[in-house]
């Protein structure tokens, strides 16, 4: 098994599934044991992923760099370790017996899988099918460790938090019902949730991801609606589900487009085992989406592509048809042009570099008929990208579809923690990161702007929320916005880095709030709390750690990741000044983040208790809940540390990710495949000295400084208002009543949607109903009446003629029978006589026949 340690992760994925099945079958009788089973499963998964990670590290080249000291000089060994997928594809065909391990020293080919639905379109490069496979690279490993660790802690926490569900009668004070406890059911769902998320991370193709995607969706539905007796809970569940459907529609449209044009949904290159002509098993590299969409550096025979194509290598090879004949026709000849309406797809198994260039006076042109390559419209590619991103928007609650996340707070707090920290919302960001190479520049801009808007809007709303969990929810939305923004501006590392760190401190915060709520007997309104510090010290302190981390206080994990984001944004803005907002909005939001987080902490733990009742009954939570808090707190501080810790850019995790970056983002001079749109950004971010004409200080220093500054402002503001009490929040509220209401109403998003989505839907429904009642039913009734008429006639015919015949037959038979009755005298002796007669007859007959015969 260990010659392909990817199976470790498969195992880690399947463990929760097993526990899910177990609990599904017998869980309801096991009570507390159910919790332990689920926890054990996910814990074991964590252990497995840890082993897998340790096995992976040697591959990642991160050690090498780490001993190397400063990370800039790591660039050189980087790129040969990171020969791109297309190159892999290229190298494959001339020497086929090369084993996976030899093939790629840098990236571990920890992959495997099978095609469970064979789909053969017959065209070259499209003879693939729906795949069930796994592909483990650095990102997967990191996600696995993070998810399993956080999930394990949350499970442990839940065993304490959900304890009251163990009793036979649970009084639901919000739904005013008495119901049976659902402790095992909770863990059943949790296990399924974990399985889905892990499978999502493990998958190597969009379709499998989509399946897990939907599984995650249904799990969130089940868990948010866990207290389904409460109307609000069931509504929230529906809202989450439906909102996600919108996104998923986009997702599947995008996937469909890709499938149609590229003939595969597999993201990375996969290796198939085939029998060649000699009948021996050889490994063939099946080019994945990326290496089909982006032009490789070499053709499929390993010879480098001609120099005229340099500007297209590693990018989408846009072409325009030369001849005016019907475009898209295979025989058409195309000319490369940076604004061409088509994209060349490298789906062919074999193509020669020189075929791409025809020296008939045209700079560079090709005809698919010659190369066996195919083309797809550029707009379709953009649409696909936006579609997939729409899916991510839905899952990670980005700007238009963010409304479901706050309502999702109706679920039990550990669920919120899991959704917000490790699983669901992370999925969106993860997918953007995973599918990054397939996004065109337009899509990236969309991502960036969506992220920017989201983070700003969510932060503003978070400012005024009083429900402790709602605040955290909006903070999550805003943080996700940060990540999206980072990814959009090419800060691939920054986005995922923040995803990882955020997972820890957000889990910490949620569990902390959960502990508070638990301690206050399900009181969630911060206005009723206050002064809880001396009641629950551990919770308070650990939450303080979380607050500091999210606010981006130095030496806390949030600091490093947020810095990275700001750097990416800054360098992007420097290169594309027209998108200045993409830096300003996050900058302001950092301040707001610090503000509302500290507001939350002050309101909860400091000052005078504002509700005696709550205060008296408040108590510290049991160890099962506090221990995870402490563990998470520890990680929230140290997860991003590197050496030296005070260097914001020495974070080990960041550099680890640095080595997992897609090839197209490496700004090295000799990397031909670099992305033309983002390369300068990355380059500037990493080697500002290469841009002498930019009149700005070194971006890291500048971005870090500004971020810290604004965070400090936010912190001071919060402290003055809610701790020292110099400013009276009430007064402020009256002053800016309109703004306050606007924020309190969450920018009226719900009303908006009610107007533009719900109401029209209802109206439409009414129209349909009317249509149904009058037209459809009218038709149906009409046909029914017609049928009645016809059948009346038919009936007459039936009665008259058919039955007439039948009855006639019957009567005849009856008559015959009545006549034959006389034979049946019922006298035993007559029967005997008949028997004897028959015997005589037969006897005579037989003897007569025999006589005839001879």
């Amino acid at each position: 098994m260990l010659e392909n340690p990817g199976w470790l992760f498969v195992g880690a994925t399947l463990l929760p599934l097993v526990s899910f099945l177990l609990l599904l079958i017998g869980g309801r009788h096991w009570g507390r044991a159910a919790g332990w089973i689920a926890t054990a499963a996910i814990g074991a998964a964590f252990v497995l992923s840890l082993i897998g990670a340790t096995l992976y590290l040697p591959y990642s080249g991160w050690f090498a760099h780490h001993h190397h000291g400063h990370h800039h000089s790591a660039g050189h060994e980087k790129h040969e370790q990171h020969a791109g997928p297309a190159q892999k594809a290229g190298h494959e065909h001339d020497h086929e017996h090369v084993t996976l391990a030899q093939r790629e020293p840098g990236v571990p080919p920890w992959q495997g899988g099978l095609i469970w639905a064979k789909v053969s379109t017959g065209e070259p490069g499209q003879a693939t099918g729906l795949r069930l496979g796994f592909y483990v690279d650095g990102l997967t490993v990191a996600m696995f460790v993070m998810i399993t660790l956080v999930a394990t802690l949350i499970h442990i926490f839940s065993t304490g938090y959900m304890a009251e569900e163990l009793q036979d009668e649970v009084h639901d004070h919000q739904a005013h019902v008495v119901r049976a406890g659902r402790y095992p059911r909770f863990f059943t769902y949790m296990s399924l949730f974990c399985f889905s998320m892990l499978n999502l991370v493990l998958a190597d193709n969009l379709f499998q991801i989509f399946i897990s995607w939907e599984l995650v969706g249904i799990c969130s539905y089940l868990l948010i609606g866990y207290y389904y007796e409460r109307r609000s809970a069931s509504n929230a569940a529906n809202k989450a589900f439906i909102t996600n459907r919108v996104g998923d529609a986009g997702f599947i449209i995008g996937a469909a487009i890709l499938w149609t044009y590229c003939g595969t949904l597999t993201l990375p290159d996969t290796v198939r085992e085939q029998r060649n002509a000699k009948g021996e098993v050889v490994r063939v590299v099946e080019p994945g989406l990326f290496s089909r969409l982006r032009m490789p550096a070499t053709d499929s025979h390993g010879t480098p592509l001609p120099a005229q194509l340099d500007e297209y290598i590693g990018n989408f090879a846009r072409v325009e048809p030369i001849s005016e004949r019907s475009s898209g026709d295979a025989a058409t000849r195309y000319r490369f042009s940076s604004s061409g309406p088509y994209v060349l797809l490298f789906t062919a198994d074999h193509f020669h570099g020189e075929d791409l260039v025809l020296d008939d006076g045209i700079s560079a042109s090709t005809s698919p008929s010659a190369t066996g390559l195919s083309v797809m419209p550029y707009w379709a590619l953009v649409l696909a990208g936006i579609g997939v991103f729409l899916g991510c928007v839905g899952k990670s609650a980005q700007f238009p579809l963010h409304v479901w996340l706050p309502d999702a707070m109706e679920g039990p707090t550990p669920v919120s923690a899991l959704i917000h920290a490790a699983t669901m919302v992370a999925a969106g960001v993860y997918l953007v990161g995973r599918a990054f190479p397939m996004f065109t520049s337009e899509v990236l801009l969309v991502i960036a702007y969506v992220g920017a808007i989201t983070l700003f809007v969510a932060a503003t709303i978070a400012l005024v929320q009083t429900d402790i969990k709602k605040v955290l929810a909006y903070s999550t939305v805003s943080q996700l916005g940060f990540m999206m923004l980072a990814l959009g501006v090419g800060g691939w590392i920054a986005g995922l880095f923040h995803l990882l760190t955020h997972a820890f401190f957000k889990a910490l915060l949620f569990l902390g709030s959960g502990s508070v709520i638990h301690g206050c007997h399900h009181e969630q309104d911060m206005m009723k709390m206050g002064g809880l510090y001396d009641k629950m010290k551990i919770t308070a302190l650990t939450m303080l750690v979380g607050v500091l981390a999210i606010a981006g206080a130095p030496l806390f994990s949030g600091w490093y990741s947020k810095d990275a984001i700001m750097v990416s944004a800054l360098s992007f803005v420097v290169h594309y000044p027209q998108h200045m907002l993409l830096f300003l909005l996050p900058l302001i939001t950092v301040a707001m983040t610090a503000f509302y987080m500290f507001r939350l902490w002050y309101l909860t733990f400091t000052g005078e208790p504002r509700d005696e009742h709550v205060y008296e009954h408040a108590h510290e939570s049991p160890a099962v809940m506090t221990v995870p808090l402490i563990v998470l707190a520890f990680f929230s501080v140290t997860v991003a540390w590197g050496w030296p810790p005070w260097d914001a850019h020495a974070s080990a995790l960041e550099h680890y990710l640095d080595h997992e970056m897609p090839i197209y983002l490496h700004p090295d001079p000799d990397n031909r495949q670099v992305d033309k749109f983002l390369a300068p950004v990355r380059k500037y971010a990493e080697q500002p000295e290469a841009f002498p004409n930019v009149q700005l200080p070194e971006p890291h220093a500048l971005a870090g400084l500004l971020a810290l500054l604004s965070a400090g402002i936010g912190f001071l503001l919060a402290t003055t208002v809610y701790y020292w009490g110099y400013l009276d929040p009430e007064g402020t509220r009256q002053q800016f009543a309109s703004v306050y209401d606007f924020l309190w109403e969450k920018w009226h998003f719900d009303e908006l949607y009610r107007w533009i989505a719900v109401r029209p839907a209802l109206v439409l429904a009414r129209v349909c109903r009317w249509f149904d009642l009058n037209v459809i039913d009218g038709l149906v009734d009409g046909s029914a009446r017609a049928t009645v008429r016809v059948s009346q006639w038919d009936g007459k015919f039936d009665l008259g003629i058919i039955d007439g015949l039948v009855n006639l037959t019957a009567d005849v038979i009856y008559a015959v029978g009545a006549w034959l009755r006389n034979v049946q005298t019922g006298f035993l002796r007559n029967y005997v006589l008949f028997l004897a007669l028959a015997a005589v007859g037969i006897f005579a007959l037989v003897s007569y026949i025999l006589a005839l015969v001879g």
Partner: protein
């Protein structure tokens, strides 16, 4: 015309006559007596054929058992009017005609039958040299070696008999010999069933007298 033949003619005609008497007699009890003579006569025929065991069985089971039962039944049910239940003359006529027809056909077929198709056999003059019960018993117990092969096999015999020297089984005979163990068992089980069935059918239907409980004082 040997003594045996004379005896045969005497016994045989007596039997036939008694059989006819059974038919023509109206009085049921006398019918029974004629039947008794018929059966006894049949037994006599068997003895003449040298089938002592068969004859004895006929006497023991039929005459001594079955017929007693029949007469028992007669006496149980023979109250005045039923002694003389007459059939109509028409029925008589039809029955007799049919009977004669049947007999004629059978007799003709017997007379014109050609038995040469049956395997030839040298029959010893004294029939009693030919059979003894041991053979019969062995055959009933399924020993396929005792009997010559025949068409009228009851159940196909399992295998040829084992020769004593080497415990090897010999080749089964060409024409499958018959073993009667299975029919024997079936018949015995059948008898048991009949026993129970008869007991069930003939049991007297008694009315159960329900004694009303006396109410306590």
């Amino acid at each position: 015309m040997s003594v045996g033949d004379i005896l045969f003619w005497i016994v045989g005609l007596m039997t036939a006559l008694c059989a006819v008497m059974v038919v023509v007699t109206q009085h049921i009890v006398r019918c029974a007596i004629w039947l008794l003579f018929t059966l006894a006569g049949t037994a006599g025929l068997f003895f003449l054929l040298g089938l002592d065991f068969l004859g004895a069985t006929q006497l023991f089971v039929y005459v001594g058992g079955t017929l007693v039962l029949v007469i028992f039944g007669v006496m149980l049910t023979a109250t005045g009017p039923f002694l003389q239940l007459r059939a109509g003359a028409g029925e008589w006529a039809i029955a007799i005609i049919v009977g004669l027809l049947l007999y004629g056909l059978i007799a003709l077929s017997w007379l014109f039958a050609d038995w040469s198709k049956l395997p030839e056999s040298a029959l010893p003059d004294d029939p009693r040299q030919m059979y003894h019960t041991e053979q019969l018993g062995r055959a009933l117990l399924g020993d396929t070696s005792v009997q010559p092969a025949s068409e009228l096999a009851g159940v196909p015999g399992s295998l040829g008999a084992a020769d004593k020297a080497s415990g090897k089984l010999q080749e089964p005979p060409k024409r499958q010999a018959s073993a009667f163990l299975l029919p024997f068992e079936i018949v015995s089980v059948h008898l048991l069933v009949v026993l129970i069935g008869a007991a069930y059918l003939a049991r007297a239907k008694r009315k159960r007298v329900v004694v009303a409980p006396r109410e306590s004082l």
